[in-house]
Symmetry: C2
Subunit: 205 residues, 2 copies
Amino acid sequence: MTGTRGRIDKRQAILEAAFTVFARDGYRAASVDTVAATAGVAKHTIYNHFGDKQSLFRAAVAALADDALARNLAAIETLRPERDPVEALTEVGLKLAKCYCDEKSWAVRRLLQAELGSMPELQDIVRERATDKVNDALADRLARLALAGHLRLSDPAVAAEQFGALLTAPFDARSRLGTRKIPFNELAEVTQNAVQTFLRAFGVR
Amino acid sequence: MTGTRGRIDKRQAILEAAFTVFARDGYRAASVDTVAATAGVAKHTIYNHFGDKQSLFRAAVAALADDALARNLAAIETLRPERDPVEALTEVGLKLAKCYCDEKSWAVRRLLQAELGSMPELQDIVRERATDKVNDALADRLARLALAGHLRLSDPAVAAEQFGALLTAPFDARSRLGTRKIPFNELAEVTQNAVQTFLRAFGVR
DNA sequence: AAAAGAATGCACTGGTGAGTGCAGTTTATA
DNA sequence: TATAAACTGCACTCACCAGTGCATTCTTTT
């Protein structure tokens, strides 16, 4: 009666393979046989663990969303009110930009958007696990910066929304929706631009 | 030898039906039979006009991209340097936001992103026809505003990029990727926020 | 009116993929 | 060591769908 119900290593291997294959081929074009082959596992094992293709997909996406949340929150932690706001915002911005431009992040967003029609719950899975929490955490930190006298803002939620917008939206075009890898200096440039504009609008100067 | 080669009305009906079905079901899940039925046309007719499923898809997406471009450019026309910049930016912002939140726009972006892997050319089709031109046009107008002394900016391209970011990115979250319809007052609110922040950063005050 | 071109309906091929059934093997637990 | 549970390999069903072939029926042009 130990915790090895379902042989965790296999389950993990399946989840990783599933994400790889789904990300490469898309949900519909990916076959369960391919996932099985990639994971080095019999097709039956997959059906034992996850029941059907949809559930496997949901599980894979959820796992990735958890990952992404952790990395984003870790980045936001860096934003402490006792630091120099320019420096701190730039560092956090760069970290968040890196998260956003991660290959897996692109894949999750792509899969999510593609299958929205057939599996609306996906939206909530990802939003509850990641997006919302990241925005809240960022808003909290910005509020503390404002309280410390480093920013002048009326609504921290809006400020977080806009900081995020300035930081991520430019990459949609620049990386051609994740097709092209963004070189580091461009990452830094966009971050720089975002922080500069954000501080021009909300900084105390 | 008149211009009716291919019976335009049928071709048009097919394109519209194709887009409807693709947008609803996604590229792979949509069957050519369904498109034919929706268009009220025999399957053969589709193959006569477009050759195969992929070409039909490309044609449908391209047609929609042309539409979107026209609407976006029309919106940007409104941005004339002799007008009051706050008013002008707000009006243009609202129009652009409306374009971005249009149901068809969401569908195009969804389909595009979903099929990027299997049809990379799509990216270029849409970018050449719409995105790039819109950005350029916006940058041009912002440059003229700056020249007229209404804005203080070093790089109009970056300014356009950021105005676009502030204007569109918030809707990704707020409309849940196009799932939820944005009520007008929220559209106005986001636009308001965007213009306000943009002018705080780049306005002459 | 005749001929050419489009469009239609229907049946058919060939391919693919989700999910199941089964018989046998490995691994862990008691 | 016995026994249950998990895993494997393979074959099989069933459904769906892109694309084609053909005989027939409009529609347009000359």
